[in-house]
């Protein structure tokens, strides 16, 4: 890429962001306190996950820093607590807050990756089905129907089980993160495909698409440069809602022992491990990671709800 095209690109980005900043969406956003709060929470979570060493008071990867005399230290405000361990410590003296932050990193990575992959699959299939129609449409949408017969949870569990049976336990644990991502991604593509297909069907009939096709533009150009931008907004809303679904799915699968192994704990794995200590009274091992999870999902859901209403022209 040479200098002038970089300058053009920079100029374009600046122009686009200026347009976004002046748009109704931003002013709507700034006037919705719930949306601002939810966004702040999600942003905080994402930053913490991206830079865990900055946010976490202790390192959980460095085993030498753990002290067994801190094991099962209760939260700071309970007798026996220590201000160094605000939310207490686990069975090996690991700080719970730090474990949550490092676990969040894995949970969010899995969820974002799963959403990105299922968005890609769903959008491409939806575009193809809506644009070409005929047997391509029939094939894709029947596959979607079959999959929609089963809830995403069962589909993800089933994919996990198939991989386990096909490649054995060892391989499964080695690639646990990627298997989990694919399981969640493949369980969610239908939502995008259905949305995009319907919109593409409408857009394909519009004059601008006809004009582009008649002027001899290649089909892929018409699909991705003309139609895609016009179906992108609802896809964005679906993706936000699906992110909450993916976070819950990851945590749930890890909780029942089908997701991330304890060597690299995600939020769900932390709750699973902590669940074993509920009965003996060390409740903070499970309850705090769980609360962190609920707050995150709640914020994402609130943001998704707001986005859906804000982008819906009929509600204006």
């Amino acid at each position: 890429m040479n200098g002038s095209s970089v300058a053009t690109l920079g100029h374009q980005i600046a122009r686009t962001s200026a347009r976004v900043w002046r748009s109704d969406l931003v002013s709507d956003f700034l006037h919705a306190p719930v949306a601002v709060l939810s966004f702040a929470i999600v942003l905080l979570y994402v930053l913490a996950a991206a830079f865990p060493s900055v946010f976490a008071p202790h390192s959980v990867t460095d085993l030498a820093s753990l002290d067994f005399s801190d094991a099962f230290r209760p939260p700071a405000w309970i007798a026996g607590g220590d201000i160094r361990f605000v939310f207490g410590a686990d069975d090996q003296g690991r700080d719970i807050l730090s474990a949550i932050i490092y676990g969040l990193r894995i949970s969010l990575f899995v969820s974002f990756a799963a959403v990105a992959i299922s968005l890609l699959i769903g959008v491409v299939f939806g575009l193809l089905a809506g644009f070409f129609g005929g047997w391509i449409d029939a094939l894709i949408m029947r596959a979607a129907d079959v999959q929609l017969t089963f809830p995403a949870m069962l589909v993800a569990v089933l994919i996990d089980g198939v991989v386990r049976a096909a490649f054995g336990e060892r391989v499964h644990d080695q690639f646990a993160v990627w298997i989990l991502i694919m399981a969640i991604a493949l369980s969610g593509w239908v939502q995008y495909a259905r949305t995009v297909r319907g919109l593409t069907l409408v857009e394909s009939g519009r004059d601008y698409v006809q004009a582009a096709r008649l002027s001899g533009r290649p089909t892929s150009f018409v699909l991705f440069r003309h139609i895609l931008p016009n179906v992108a907004t609802p896809v964005f809303v679906v993706a936000t809602i699906q992110l909450a679904v993916a976070i819950i799915l990851e945590a749930t699968l890890s909780f029942v022992g089908l997701g991330i192994p304890p060597t690299q704990p995600s939020l769900g794995t932390l709750i699973r491990v902590g669940n074993g200590y509920l009965l003996s009274g060390e409740w903070w091992l499970a309850i705090f990671p769980g609360l962190a999870l609920v707050i995150l999902v709640l914020a994402v859901n609130l943001l998704g709800d707001w986005l859906r209403d804000a982008l819906n022209p009929r509600l204006k």
Binding site: T149, F150, P151, L158, A165, A244, L258, L278, V294, N301
Partner: protein, 329 residues
């Protein structure tokens, strides 16, 4: 009408057929039954011999129809993990899940519908704002964490309810019920509540949205103008017209209730189909997975079909839509 019925029935059978093909492929290619029967030390000749005896050397298509025939008779082979016929294990576990799912769904309807009506009618009151807020938490709360919180509060700290199992069950023929004993009912409370939380929130929001829409209609204003009591308007005019979509979606939700049941059963060690499924996945018990796949498909396809048909019967507008293009979503 007839052609629509046949079309829907054909679609359902097609879905089932595809699922059976998938189950067959799983069954045939993932678990090698020959090795699992003879052990890893068997010779090639022994394996070929058994393969011939079991008909596994036949063309794939012949094997598939054999599998289809067995499936239709309810013969799913032996579970790798338990060494028992899959069908018998499924039958043993089914009552626990059915009782749990039904109780959860009933609870969801009993709480969700009145809450939805209330929040629609008294939208500005503090109580309904609070209810809406709580419902959002209900949607955002993963069911396993909900179950865990309940166990922590009511079993560990208060000691009111048992934290796992089904309690004492009574055998009625092949059906084992937990409804007949005190301990069975006590054991049901928390799992049923866990399953229903998401459904309560969903039904409530649905009823509210439908009520708000219906109450803007001309005939509601007219009924009010006629001087009918608001109670009569809300119940007889508005609610009635909201119930059709509510019942439809609730029916469709039965599927997700069963999916969430797997998680809830795992939290409460409830001896049902869902727990069995998760254990089978963890043990890569392929015959069990294949059978579960087929079983769930039959349940879901049947429910979807019934819901679609009832919709068609109740709402005459669907008829014209169905004739124009495909079934109503």
């Amino acid at each position: 009408m007839i052609s629509y019925l046949l079309q829907r029935l054909g679609q359902s059978l097609l879905v089932l057929f595809i699922v059976v093909i998938m189950a067959f492929l799983l069954f045939r290619f993932l678990g090698d039954p020959i090795v699992s029967i003879l052990g890893a030390n068997s010779t090639g000749m022994q394996r070929d011999e058994l393969r011939r005896q079991m008909g596994l050397d036949a063309p794939l298509i012949v094997q598939f129809f054999e599998y289809l025939w067995q499936t239709m008779r309810g013969d799913f082979g032996l579970s790798y993990r338990l060494g028992q016929p899959v069908a018998r294990v499924l039958l043993e576990r089914a009552p626990a899940t059915i009782e749990l799912a039904t109780s959860g769904l009933l609870l969801a309807l009993i709480i969700g519908i009145p809450a939805g009506i209330y929040t629609a009618i008294r939208g500005r009151s503090i109580a309904s704002q609070l209810t809406l807020g709580v419902s959002l938490i209900g949607i955002s709360m993963p069911s396993f964490f909900m179950g865990m919180l309940l166990i922590w509060i009511f079993s560990i700290n208060l000691g009111w309810l048992p934290s796992f199992g089904r309690g004492e069950t009574v055998q009625l023929g092949w059906w084992s019920t937990g409804f007949a004993t005190r301990s069975g009912l006590a054991a049901l409370v928390m799992p049923a509540l866990t399953i229903s939380v998401f459904q309560i929130a969903m039904i409530m929001r649905l009823v509210r949205a439908e009520m708000l829409q219906v109450m803007r209609m001309e005939y509601i204003r007219f009924a009010k103008a006629r001087g009918l009591s608001s109670r009569s308007v809300y119940i007889h005019h508005a609610l009635r017209n909201t119930l059709v979509p509510v019942i439809t979606i609730t029916g469709l939700q039965f599927g997700s209730v069963i999916a969430f049941a797997a998680i809830t059963e795992s939290v409460f060690q409830w001896p049902g189909l869902g727990l069995l499924f998760l254990q089978s996945v963890a043990a890569a018990d392929v015959p069990m997975l294949a059978a579960y796949l087929v079983l769930i498909a039959v349940v879901f396809v049947t429910i979807n079909l019934l819901v679609d048909l009832s919709y068609y019967a109740i709402d005459p507008r669907i008829k014209t839509m169905a004739e124009q293009k495909g079934p109503a979503a």
